[in-house]
Every structure is written in structure tokens, then in C-alpha cells.
Symmetry: C2
Subunit: 305 residues, 2 copies
Amino acid sequence: MGGTTTKIGLFSSEGKLMDKKEIPTRVAMGRKSVFQDIAACIRTLTQDHGAALSDCSVGMGVPGPIDETGYADVMVNLDMYDFYPGKELSELLEGIPVKAANDANVAALGEMWQGGGRGYKSLLFVTLGTGVGGGIILNEKILHGAHGLGGEIGHIWVNPDEPETCNCGGHGCLDQMASATGIVRNAKRFMAKAEKPSALEKFDNLTAKDVFDAAKAGDEVAEKTVDYCMGFLGKNIADVTYVIDPEVVVIGGGLSKAGQYLLDVVYNHYKRYPKLKKCLSDFRLAQLGGDAGMYGAARLALEEK
Amino acid sequence: MGGTTTKIGLFSSEGKLMDKKEIPTRVAMGRKSVFQDIAACIRTLTQDHGAALSDCSVGMGVPGPIDETGYADVMVNLDMYDFYPGKELSELLEGIPVKAANDANVAALGEMWQGGGRGYKSLLFVTLGTGVGGGIILNEKILHGAHGLGGEIGHIWVNPDEPETCNCGGHGCLDQMASATGIVRNAKRFMAKAEKPSALEKFDNLTAKDVFDAAKAGDEVAEKTVDYCMGFLGKNIADVTYVIDPEVVVIGGGLSKAGQYLLDVVYNHYKRYPKLKKCLSDFRLAQLGGDAGMYGAARLALEEK
């Protein structure tokens, strides 16, 4: 479930994606309508493929923290509060099992199962998009956390020198440094301070992609920006390694389209920490793009069967 | 197993401590002798209580990283390298099950089972002693990590301004700030800069306990030191909460004798992070002291039965 659209996939019990649909998330209509839309789409998908609803189980990824009991306190983007999303959907689907988890967490599970983390059992997944999200898989299971905060690395304070306030109310969150927004903001700062001209000056609406492209082409300001911003991410991943020591780190989200270049910059910062020398995690790019959550939700559903 | 002595406890299968012994760890005699000493002590303990060795299983905590397969790469304090401690001990005990884990990790498990974390299933355990150690329990199991690094929070770099080098080769590790050594070092720095006299000046061999005692009595330099050093710990625990979101944080080790005062200082720093507002973990003092590892090892042995 996203704030704009919801993607719904039908998977075989072997985990093959058989069909998928994307429907608008009609947030303004209220929670009941949104869930009815989803339930109706699930019915259509199963009927189209001759599957009995009673043979199915459902997994869902939602944009907000979910604790281990399936409780959602707040989903700002959906204007939904204080309820159990899995239970709500199950009641509209004749009581079949529905398990909900945080969207970044199900995406992590999807990448482990069928994406960049295939073959690994423990994984840190980092999404670099408008914000920075994270999900952790240990022994092939999502680490939800006692309050649904597991893997929420985007709001760890990494830069005490950041003057702006983060949307969470903090200062210097990883989200402010390593997100697309953070990269653009920092590129503008480096441009303002630069003594040489930069290829970035020609953009009216500078994007993170422009910065990465210019960095790859050797533009000094762009290189500095990427190195500075991704330095915080590399350090943060090192910190997380000291906590959960994952087999692999998978990097996804829009920025991961910068590919191996991005991965190398982050890895070079990450590996600087002496204690990690013999304990380095593998680094991989995500492979499932916007479908990662759907795959992970399916895997979650299979756990319930 | 410690670098000086090894504690060995006999537990009933219900988890009751029936007897315990402490033997010297004769590191200079080499690995084989050390393990033979331990095996002999286990035989004596079981015989003393009329237990058949074949009915027993063994858990052990060792001073070094152990990965999920039970492999130990290096235990500096024991001068032992590249082996499987559990397998080694099992071979001396007619092949009964022996499971080894890192000492801080088994202590964490012990505190969850019978100590400060009783009643909780997920826990961050922090030991504040000569160094800073950590262990993580999720769903009542140790988080070993892919390379045995799980919960090794002591070497996360928390203070870029620290001029001295840590024994790990890093700079500004949590270990350098929140350990007994770190507190004494920082107290001396604050004393040197202080404009007012401090009660700490009278000590020839200043200890962390002296600093805590003086802080509790209202000495300004001591208060500043505790607040400064424990500020790094509180921030670090907040960071870890964003990663694993534990139900409870248990603080042990020699410094935890400062009791509720210490807990309050750390908690006040910890709770400053906005995103945590509704997700605060409980804070507890450890209760098992130096026996925590023995309890956790017993719990580990019970998992094997």
C-alpha cells in the first residue's frame, strides 16, 4: 500500500508471480473504502485465475511502523491510525489469514527471497529515495521490533552539523544526508562554496540523478557531494554491522539506479572501520525495484500458510 | 571462560543453579590443557551430584566473536585462534552437545532468563566495565551475527573529536567514552579545564567509582564527566533502538553498581530522540553480576537438549 497507489500481486504457493494489478489508494475516501477497494481487487485477481479465496493467504506492506502483533499506531500518508491492518483486511476476505508488516521491511524480505539478497538469510536493506528507509531480515524473518521500529535507520542522527530540521523533528538524520532530497540540498551547498565552475550549475531543477551523472562524469562538486552524503551512509551501515552483523547489505530505491558507482562509494566508506576488517558484509544492488514489497508480502503470506 | 578464571555451574534442566566452581584458566599451558581442565571440572561437578554425563548438555561463553556455526577466529585474551570451542570441549566429554557463544552474548541471554531482563523476549544488554560490551537477544535467542559481531556496540565510532586511538585501531569508539577507563580519562580532562576545585583532585588513583560517587554528591566536574560520557551511550542506545527496537535495555558490568543514578543519566540522553517518543524501550539494571554468563550458558545448553 502506498499513499498514491496500491500494488496487488497473485502468487502461486511456489512463489511465482502470476498476475498483478495497481489500483489508486483513495485516501480521501477513508480507511474503510481503501480496504474495500483492496479486497475487491484481490477477489477479482483470484477469480480471474480460478483460485478459491479460502485457499489463499495474504501478505501486505504498509507505510508505517507495525509491531509484532500487527498493530499500526500511525500511517501518516494514508491518514490511518490505531488499528490492525491485517485484521481489517482479513474481515473483508472471509477471515483468510492476512499478515501486515512495514513496507520497507517487506521490501527487504522480497529482495532476500527473489532479489539482490537471494541466497542470503540475514540482510540489511536500505532504500534511498525521497527519504531513507531500511529493513532487516534475520534468519529469513523480518525484524519488526518491539514497537515496529526495526530497521528504521533513516532517522538515526548521523550529522550533528546539519542546521536544518528533519521532518521527524531531529537534526542531522541519515534521511537528511543520503536521500535524494539530501543529495540535492548538499549539492547546492557545495556549489555555493565551490571555486571552480560545476556542470550542476546548468540545472534549474537539480535532481539527485543529475548529481550522480555529473559525479560519474568527473564533476568535482558532484563527486564531493556524493562522497560526503554517501560517507554518512557508509558509516551508518558500519554501525549497523556492529549491531546485527548481516551477511549482505542490499541497496535499493531510486538512487540505486546509479548502480555500481553508488555501491562502490558507499562500500569504500563502510570498510574503513578497523574492527570490521574480517567481518565485512557483502554489498549488492536491489533487483526488484518497485515490486520488492509485493514479493516480500507474498513471502510473508507463505509464512502464514 | 575468562582470561584469568573460568566459572563452571551445574544447572538442573529446570534451570536451577545446583553448584558452581571457579578454576584458573591456565592460558600459558595452551589450549589443550585449558580445555582438559574445564572438562575435568565438569566431570567432577556431575559426579558430585550423581548426574550422568550422557544426560547433560553444555553451554559456554568465550571471550571473542563466535559465528553461527560455532567458529572462533580469535580470542586474544586466551591466545587461541581458528577453532570450534564447542566441538573441542565436546570431544573431551564423550561427544555430549556443547554450544559456545560470545561471553557478552551469553551474559545477555542470562540476564533475559533470570536477571534484569526477566519477562522480556528481546533485549539489548550493555556491559560497562574496563571496556564496553554488548549482547542482543531477539525472540529469546542470541543474535550471533554472520561473523560473530552481533551486539559488538563497544566499537561503534561515536566521538569524532576523541584524539586517542582505541585498542581496535579506531578513534572515538563507544568503548573509549563509556567504559571505566573512558570515564577516568575524561574526568582528568574536565579537571584540567575546570575553574572550580573538584573533589576528584584528592585521588591519586582515580577510579570510575570515585567519579560516580562524587557526581552523586554533586561535584560539578564529576557530574559533567558522567553526563558527557553517558551522553554517548544514551545516543548509541537510541541508534541501536532504530535498528533492533528491543523491549528492554539492561545495563550491567562494574559501572552498573552506580545503580539508578547511572540508569537515569543514560535514559535522559536516550529519550531525547524525537522518533523514539512512542517507542521507548524499558531500562533495567543487570541483576546477575559476574554469574550472568554462567546462567546464559546454561540457557544455551537447555536449547540444545
